[in-house]
Symmetry: C2
Amino acid sequence: MYVVVVYDIGELRVARMLKLCRKYLNWIQNSVFEGEITEVKLKEMLSKAREIMDLDYDSIIIFKSREHKWLDKQIVGVARSQIDNFL
Amino acid sequence: MYVVVVYDIGELRVARMLKLCRKYLNWIQNSVFEGEITEVKLKEMLSKAREIMDLDYDSIIIFKSREHKWLDKQIVGVARSQIDNFL
């Protein structure tokens, strides 16, 4: 399945969350990731994410599409994923 | 069509962008919006967004799904849209 993941995480925890998400998905904007992932791997990622998060303050939203082709993407302005390659 | 819109906008411009996007879509997280919108209305919104943005630094990513039902949403942690109702 294809997912888009966006998080809103307190500053103290955001570096760990970024590192975690980049292990599973492609970083495309400040707090946005996308990629092909299995249900099992997504559960694994979210389980680890819960350990990092303060569940009273932080949030992650996951949009799931069974097929990548059902989701079109349009970018206006800077495409951050180009920057990501240099990090 | 159903869209998810995420932006990464410089601090000086972010309040105007938030106001713009909330006219067209539902605010669900810090810089994330979703909702049913026509192609024409989306173009109108993006045209206004470009006037606000610094296209060398800012970015908006739009994920489009022809049918809302093709896109599942899962939230972990705080659901910001609940907060939105009180603003």
